[in-house]
Each structure stands twice: as C-alpha cells, then as structure tokens.
Amino acid sequence: MKQPSGFVDPTLPSHVCRLHKSLYGLKQAPRAWYTCLSDFLLSIGFIASKVDTSLFILSDGTNIFYLLVYVDDILLTGSNSAMLHHLVQLLSSEFKLRDLGDVHYFLGIEVQSTGMGLMLRQHKYILDILTRAGMTTCKPVDTPVSPSKLAIQPDHPFSDPTRFCQIVGALQYLTFTHPDICFAVNKVCQYMHAPTDSHWVAVKHIIRYLKGTASYGFHITRGTSFALHGFTDADWAGSIDDCKSTGGYLVFFRQTPISWKSGKQRIVARSSTKAEYKALADGTAEVIWLQYLLTDLQVPSISAPTI
C-alpha cells in the first residue's frame, strides 16, 4: 500500500507499506475479520457448525452454549449463567467489546421477553420505511397484495428506479419477522430491473399493509416437543411473463414458524402436480437442513418431521 497522506516516512519516501493485517476497505477485510474471530473461538473450545458456519457451539457434557456471529454483532446464549459470564470475559480479553447484557436488540430486531416466550419486532424499522417512502400518514389496508397480477411492461417506467430498489431492498429485510409479506415482496423484487408505475403501486400497497400491522410481532413460544412441521404450496403458471410457477414453504418448529420462502420456480411446470412436487422438494430440502442444524445444536429426541 502507498504510505498514507501526511505520514510518509521522510527518510524513506519511495518505500511502500507491506500490510501484515487487513485494513478497512480491502476486498478481503470481512474474511480476515471472520477468520480472526473464528480462530479465537475455536481456540477456546467452540466448534463451528457444519451446516451454518456462523454458528459456534461449545459443549462440556452438561452445559451447552451457542454463539451467533453476524460480522461484529455477536449473540451468545447458554444454559449456565456463570459460565456464560466467564465466556464474555474471555472474549473481552481478546477483543474490545461491549456487553449489552440481555438481548433487546439484535440486527435491528427488537427482542422482548414475554411470559410465554420471546417477541421479535421490527417496529422502528417499519416506521423508518414509512418515513423513507413518505407514507407516514397513509391509509392502512388489510392485505399485502392486490388481486391484480403484475407483469413486465415496456411502457410507463417508474421515474426513480433507484428509490424503488432501495425501498424494496428495505422490505426484503423485513421478511425476517414478517412471513406474511414474503410473497408480496418476492413479487415486486422480480421487477427491480425495470420498475413501472404499476409495480410502484404494488410496493405502496405493501407499505400501506405494514402501516396497519407495524406493531405486530413474531412470537416464539415455549414448548416441550421438538418437532418440525413443513408446509408447501405452489400456484401453476402464476407468472404472466414466462409461465413459471411460484412455490413456497413454511417450516414450523413446535408452534413457531422458523423458516419460510416464496419464490418463482426455475423450471416451467407443465402440470400443477409438477409445480406442487417442485415446491415439496424445496420444502423437504429445507426441513432436512433444519434437521442437521438441530443435530448440531444437540437438541435431543427429534421426532420425524411431517410435511
């Protein structure tokens, strides 16, 4: 690297810096941070999960600890609070960190403990989207999608495509706690490359729906059984543009939905049965992945999943 402006060594002005460590802005900087953190975690006994490499697990036979890494947001949970405290001390000896105590806010999601379990909300995030879209005083609607179908239209392009992409991108992150808008967001996402006025109307429809449901949250309830239930569905030739079908799945762990997806299928199904089978196959793959994840999390006695 070139020597930084203003701090060039006066005796060796033509020398360059050989970097031993990564700097912000380098292509490999995120990877270097991840390697640094994961090496440390592995050295203190954590094991990286094979199915999700950002999940680290520490187990000593009786106690078990999970550590989730989202770049520099770290969530640590475990069955023994004294050892948990010790782990935080270990981490802070290596990295400069702030212990935020009990989780209230993770990745922009408000976490609230209720008597029945945990409530996840993105209330503030929804209000931010409403402000960004200039729709804080809009009239709420009861459904996320209007019945009319969207299609690619060569005329009437939307005046500000960048804004369209920004708002839709913001909505995509909202599906973290709002499976109800998953289908609607996926639909408008398919027109990101060439948005038109009618697509913008569909986006506004979603935002008006959110206005009415902004304070709704996602409730994770307690339970004793450890069972996975998967549900899949598909339409047939739902897309006007290319006759492809839209499929989706929703997987419950106990009474809580854990994983969901809605998306256009890659193949053109020639029968509705084929479209349904395709959705079933995608849903099954997800359930199998979740089963591996549960095994890694050392959850005991998982009964056979139903789909």
Partner: protein, 149 residues
C-alpha cells in the same frame, strides 16, 4: 495566532465518488507530518467533515485525529515499510473524516479513519478468497426458539 484561513468551509460533495481534484495532492503526500508545525494549523473546532486530506490537515483537531489513528495502526504493527518493486501492485489509501456526535448533537470527537482503496486491488496478487459467511435467518430464529425453552 493565525486566524481561521478558510472563511467559508470548502464545498462538500454529496456524492460518494472521489474526484481527482479532491484527492490529496502529491505535494502533500511527500511532506511529513512533522514538517507542518502546529503554528500553521487552525485551532478552531471545525463543524464539517472534509473530503480531502489537504482540507483536513489545516485543522489541529483533524490532524490530531489522524495522529491517533496512525499511532493505533503502528501499535498493531499493521504494516512495515519495504522498498518498492515494479512487480507490486500498490494499493492506494485514503483518509475518511467523521465527526462523532453525542445524542444532543454536540461534538463528541473527531475521528479519522485510514481506509484502503480496495477497488485498486487485483485478484490473485492482493487477495484470493473474500467470502465471509454470515448467520442465516432461520438459524437465528431456531436458536431463539431453543433458548426460550
């Protein structure tokens, strides 16, 4: 004491693009930090975030912030100086200036950040692997779900 030289703050661009004219001049890059004495710098606390090194270096506050950053980088042994060889792809660097404010809007501190210009890197020479995993949403929800029971 020399009065604040730029009466009006220099024009700040609203776009993230770095214009060649706004980059630090070569003349500045070869002058060492010690060559500019504190007497030639403005003591006034600036309330804007400069884009160019030459604008920032006029202020004591920004200069001190840069010194702190360099000190931190040196204490971490981030780099060593080596003679230039034509086979090297030399990546540029840039200063980014940010004013950290408190909740009430008053200035907390001046922060200067040295960043590498990653877009001048060449794959194979400067880096090979860049993939960095992040947690899946389903994993977060599943762990929450197990944690409550």
């Amino acid at each position: 004491m020399i009065p604040p030289s730029p009466a009006s703050p220099p024009l700040l661009s609203r776009h993230p693009m770095v214009l060649r004219s706004r980059q630090p001049k070569i003349a500045n890059t070869v002058s060492s930090a010690a060559a500019n004495t504190a007497a030639t710098r403005v003591l006034l606390s600036p309330s804007f975030e400069p884009v160019a090194f030459s604008d920032a270096d006029k202020y004591v506050a920004w200069h001190d912030a840069m010194c702190d950053e360099i000190k931190a980088l040196r204490s971490n042994h981030t780099w060593s100086l080596v003679p230039f060889h034509p086979s090297m792809n030399v990546v540029g660097s840039r200063w980014v200036y940010r004013i950290k404010r408190r909740v009430d809007g008053s200035i907390d501190r001046y922060k200067a950040h040295l960043v590498a210009r990653g877009f001048t890197q060449q794959e194979g020479i400067d880096y090979s692997e860049t993939f960095s995993p992040v947690i899946k949403q389903a994993t977060v929800r599943l762990v929450f779900s197990i944690a409550v029971s």
